[in-house]
Each structure stands twice: as C-alpha cells, then as structure tokens.
C-alpha cells in the first residue's frame, strides 16, 4: 500500500461512489446559497469550490443527538410502583467525510483533548470519532478571513485528517495520513502518486505564501487574563456584537452542549444539543443569578476560552483553528483577530502604566 496516490479529477465521482458503497459518505453540498455537509447523492456533485459555510463538526459532534430513550411503565408485580426503562443510543457504522478543509478537520483535535481524555471519556463522541474518516482537501489559496497560520496550522495541515488531498494538475495527490486513511487509497481508480510529489509540495508552499504574516499569539493567554476585569475594554470590544450564536455554531472548535429530557407523555429522549456561550441562558443559574449578565461578559468568555483558558489546560494548544467562519458569517462583522490583538495591546499598555493602547 503506497502512502500517496494520484486521484484524477475524472475519477472523483467513481471514487466517491466506491467510498459510498462501503461507508456512509458525507460531502459538502450546495443548499440554496449555502454549502453544508450532508449525505452523498450520486446524482449531485459535491461542492468543493470553496470552504463550506458550515464546518464538518456535526459529523462527529451532532447539533442534536439522542443519548438515550426512556419510558415509564407500571410494575406488573406492584402497580403502585413505576419503573423507568432506559435504552442507550450509541452511534454505530462507518463513515467517511469528504471535502472538508484542513481547518475544519483540525477542529476535532481540540475536541479530542476534552472528550477523549483520561479525565473524561465521552463514549458517544469517541465512538463517532473512531468511526469517522476524513478525506480533507488542502487549500490552494488563503482568504482574507483565514488565519490558520496564527494558531499553528496551515493550508495543508493534516492533523485530524485520514487522507489529505493536495491539488495537482488534473486532480489531487491523495496523501495517506492514518492507517485507515491509507486503506481508503487502495483503489484501482487511483494511480501511483510518486511523480506528483514535487508538484504537491510546491502547491502547499504556494498556499502558505498566500497568507499574510502571522501575529505572534504567545502573549495571548496571559494578556487575556490581565484584561479579565477590564470591563470598559470588553464593553467596547463587544459593542457591535449582537450576541447571537452564529460564531459558536459555525466554529469547528466550539464544543459546548446542553442536555435536556424531552418528554412525550410517558416516554421521552435525553438529548444532547449544541449550546453556546453567547446566550444569556448559558450560565443562567437556577437562583436567577447570572455570572455573565451582559454580552461583554459573554464575548470575553468566548475569546478567553479559545486563546487563554483552554491553552492553559491543554499544554498551550489554542482552541481555534483559524478558519475565519466566525468573522465571515458574523452578522455584525466582529473580528476575533482584532479582539485578541487588542487584548494583547491593552495588557501591554496597562503593564506599562498606559491604558490608551487599544488597537481596534
């Protein structure tokens, strides 16, 4: 089994058909004016012309998943007692996600440290993660909202992927990243890839060059803690935020969830659904107290979590993949890059006894 093979563009549909015969295949599809991940339909070509509007996160971390079903039943032996019957719903089956970009796939490495760690092992997440293979498409060119290189990634980052497709003349060089990924390349539709290695390497370098120089985020974790209580700063940073959750739900690294029981008569389901820190209800306590009462507190948490608290807990790893969806799809044009940079400037200026050092 070779570690890299050539996939001619003309063979793409046939290869997808082959993948779909052995796996549940999920691809980016055009729906109206958006591109979202959904089941492969042989009659409709996947849209890989640009990065999808929504990332592939729902393939491993669904927007809504049933954790268990339950029902209340009378105890036949003692009718005064009610028993609860429960049935766990575990994910099963083998899936391939085709056509995500490296940033979207890398997002799962942020989840892995949380859901598949010694301290906490989430069986639902782990089952899906293990059952799902990613055939990722390296980017040829950076967009103006892209900043993957700020967070230690890049347009051809293979972390989190099983196969990385690099655009070369007439098709892609398919690089096997994991053992399972290499198995996917064992198809007669793919050709030997050796002679495309040089071209693929050049394509990766060219894509990297299309990114503007990266900001140094090393001071970010401490800077965000330093400005934690500076509510004037956060009020200004969040002024134009409308406190919706679009940024979080489109983020490949946001993993907060809610768990609710949805009753229907004597039976129901326990659901896990996406939740988001931009919502007032997210930290609303039963007493009525809310430790994050304003959008400034909430946006502070979102930025702080990604660039300070998470890195603090996970060996410096930033909980952001730099895909830029939170910027591109923000109805108010909030730019998380500006906020992190402004926090670093503010912290620096404050430590030097000057509080006018805002950048944004």
């Amino acid at each position: 089994m070779e570690s890299s093979r050539y996939l001619p563009e003309a063979s793409l549909d046939a290869w997808l058909g082959e993948l779909a015969s052995s796996h549940e295949l999920i691809v980016p599809r055009r729906e109206g004016d958006a591109i979202v991940f959904g089941p492969y339909d042989p009659a409709v070509s996947p849209d890989i012309s640009r990065d999808a509007t929504a990332p592939p996160k729902s393939t491993v971390f669904p927007a809504c998943e049933e954790l268990m079903r339950y029902s209340s039943v009378k105890d036949a032996d003692d009718p005064s007692r009610t028993l609860v019957r429960m049935e766990e719903v575990m994910p099963s089956g083998s899936r391939v996600v085709f056509g995500a970009r490296p940033c979207g796939t890398r997002g799962f490495t942020v989840y892995d440290r949380v859901f598949d760690a010694p301290a906490m092992h989430d069986p639902y997440y782990v089952a899906r993660r293990q059952n799902t293979l990613f055939v990722t498409l390296a980017c040829s060119e950076a967009g103006s909202a892209c900043f993957c290189h700020w967070v230690g990634s890049g347009p051809a980052d293979a972390s989190g992927s099983d196969v990385l497709l690099v655009p070369v003349k007439g098709g892609w060089l398919a690089e096997g990243v994991s053992d399972k990924g290499r198995e996917l390349l064992d198809s007669p539709l793919l050709a030997p890839g050796d002679k495309y290695a040089g071209e693929a390497k050049a394509a990766k370098a060219k894509a990297m060059e299309s990114l503007e120089s990266a900001a140094d985020l090393k001071p970010a974790p401490e800077s965000l803690l330093a400005v934690f209580d500076d509510m004037e700063f956060w009020n200004r940073m969040s002024a134009k935020c409308i406190s919706c959750g679009a940024c979080t739900y489109l983020c490949p690294t946001c993993y907060c969830f809610n768990i609710t029981d949805e009753n229907k008569g004597m039976e129901g389901s326990r659901l896990r659904t996406w939740d988001n820190c931009m919502s007032f209800q997210f930290t609303l306590e039963a007493s009525g107290h809310n430790p994050r009462p304003t959008k400034a507190h909430r946006l502070k948490n979102r930025v702080g979590h990604k660039f300070s608290y998470y890195p603090g807990l996970h060996g410096g790893a930033i909980a952001c993949c730099g895909c830029g969806r939170c910027i591109k799809s923000c109805p108010a044009g909030v730019d998380i890059r500006q906020i992190v940079l402004a926090a670093m400037d503010r912290a620096k200026a404050t430590s030097q006894g000057n509080t006018t050092g805002e950048r944004a």
Partner: protein, 319 residues
C-alpha cells in the same frame, strides 16, 4: 465627498453630549462595512457612507436604555427607529439621529453567487450602475440591480424619515423592480403542500443560532425569548425542521405590524435561509387589514396598540 464631511463635523459637534454615536466603518472585507461605535472625535474619522453600510444600526438601540445615543441611519434604518419610538421602546429625547441620502446597499449573498467565497474579495467599488468586485481572478463588473439588496431597487424612503441632522440633498424614491413582491407572489402561487415543502427544505439547514432574531431591530425580548425558555416549553431542543419552522412562525407573528422589512434577519442568517419572505407576508396582511406600514409615519398608531370592538376590514360576525 462633502456631505460625509459635513456629517462627520455634525457628529463631532454633538459627541460631547452623547455616550456614543453608532455608524459604520470598513470591515474585514471591502464588501462589508461593520458597525462603528464612535466615542471620540478620532473614531468619527473612520465613519464611512455608501453601498457597503448594510447593517441596520437601529438594532442596537432598544438595549441601550439610559444612555444618550446618536445613530447614523439610512432611510430604511430610520423606519426601524420610527417604529421603536412608536412602540415606546426607545426615548426620543435620548436619541440623536443623523442621516444622509442613500442610493442603496449591496446584498453580499447575491455577490457571493457570482464570486463564490466572499473571503476572496480584495476590492469593491460602486460607480453609477455597476459594482466592480476584485478577486484573485481579476475584476468583475456586476450591474447594480444584480448586486443591490432587493429592498433598494424600489426604495420609497431613501432619506431618513426622522433626523436631527441630515446632510446632502434628499433623493426621490427609487422606481425600479420590486423583486421582493415578485418572490412573495411566486410563493403565494404555490399549493399549500408545495409551500410547506419549500419551507421544510429551506429550514433543514438552520443551525438554530438565532442570528435572525438578534439582528432584528424589533425583536426586543432577547434574553427572555420563548425559543430558549424551558417553562413554558414552546420549542423542543430536538433539531427537527418542525421545531425550526415553529420558531420562524413565532418570530414572524411577533413582528406582524412591526417589521420594517429591513432584511437584517435574512442577511444575518449564516446559512442564507430566505426567511424575509415570511415577514413580508405578514406585513402585506397587516397593510391590507389595517392600512398600516411599520415605521413610515411617526404619528401613526401601530395596529397592536389599538383596540376596536369591530375592525373595519375584519368581518368577525360574518364568520
């Protein structure tokens, strides 16, 4: 551009008496300006005016109680201000309104259809009837009618309906096509099952972020929205199309007679669901029943603020 300089001067003059003034500045992308909160004269220098100022700054107003605020508005934005005032959701004495004549704003979704990824746009400029967009592939000239927001093609209110400072010469209404009416007519022509299928299909990709709600200047329940309350439990956490459509129905009904059709709900939708049509339908019903159009007459009384035992156009006893 003299009127913009005059506007900036007026804002700077008013600023000492205000907490801040809301306008627009250049955003992360040349096509998309972003809301600008001006606290000091140097902030005012960043103010832009033109076809990229799509956001409706009136969206922020109802959350700013107790502050003295200035707001720069396009004509359509001013309708939201008028409606908020009519509903007593903001206080006129706390508000200073700045305006300039507007010749229309872009619809980023329409432009994305032509150029693909908005992130690849490196330049955008409007000259008369054309929007020129630059990407790495070169420059693309888009006829204004294909680049503008639908509401701009037949805009009846290019000038602020109310303002304290208006700079530039007022413009006449725009007499172009009304694509919004065409879209509504096409939907109304569908059989109920087809119409339901249309909405089921469109709502399928909804991610329930509620950007449509939060971007809406008239959606003022915000943190207390029934979409997220557990008691009463109107909407399940289950992410079925049924639940998503239920929310849109509630949202639309809450806006009946109040929606100024600014289009922020649809513009804010990150997955481009064409939900404005639902609001437009309700607006047309209200117009027919109550002869009322939201936000166009500061002296009118909104239909939900009145009560008559018998409405002139609702034949209740005939049912």
């Amino acid at each position: 551009m003299q009127p913009l300089e005059d506007l900036k001067a007026a804002i700077k003059e008013a600023l000492p008496g205000l907490d801040f003034v809301i306008g627009w500045e250049s955003g992360w992308n040349p096509l998309l300006a972003t809301p600008l909160f001006m606290y000091a004269p140097e902030d005012v220098d960043k103010l832009t005016w033109g076809p990229f100022n799509v956001n409706n700054p009136a969206t922020y107003l109802s959350a700013l109680k107790g502050k003295k605020v200035g707001v720069v508005v396009k004509g359509c934005d001013s309708r939201s201000v008028v409606q908020l005032l009519q509903e007593k959701l903001i206080r006129r004495e706390d508000l200073t309104v700045f305006g300039m004549p507007c010749t229309g704003v872009v619809d980023a979704t329409k432009i994305a259809r032509k150029v693909g990824d908005l992130g690849m746009i490196s330049g955008a400029k409007r000259t008369n009837g054309t929007l020129s967009v630059t990407t790495h592939e070169g420059s693309l000239d888009i006829p204004w009618e294909e680049a503008a927001a639908d509401k701009c093609l037949s805009c009846q209110y290019p000038n602020a309906i109310i303002s304290d400072h208006f700079k530039g010469d007022p413009l006449p209404p725009t007499l172009g096509r009304d694509p919004a009416a065409e879209q509504l007519a096409a939907l109304e022509a569908l059989a109920p099952a087809e119409l339901f299928a249309h909405w089921k299909d469109a709502m399928d990709r909804c991610i329930r972020c509620y950007a449509c709600r939060n971007a809406c200047p008239m959606c003022v329940c915000r943190d207390h929205c029934i979409a997220q309350t557990r008691d009463p439990h109107w909407i399940s956490q289950d992410d079925t199309v049924k639940e998503k459509l239920m929310f849109q129905m509630i949202h639309s009904l809450h806006l009946a007679g109040r929606c100024t059709e600014c289009g922020e709900c649809q513009r804010a939708c990150p997955v481009d669901i064409p939900i404005l049509a639902l609001r437009r339908k309700l607006s047309s019903v209200v117009k027919n029943l109550f002869d009322y159009q939201a936000g166009v007459d500061p002296n009118a009384v909104p239909p939900l603020f009145t009560f008559q035992v018998e409405e002139a156009k609702i034949n209740e006893r005939g049912w």
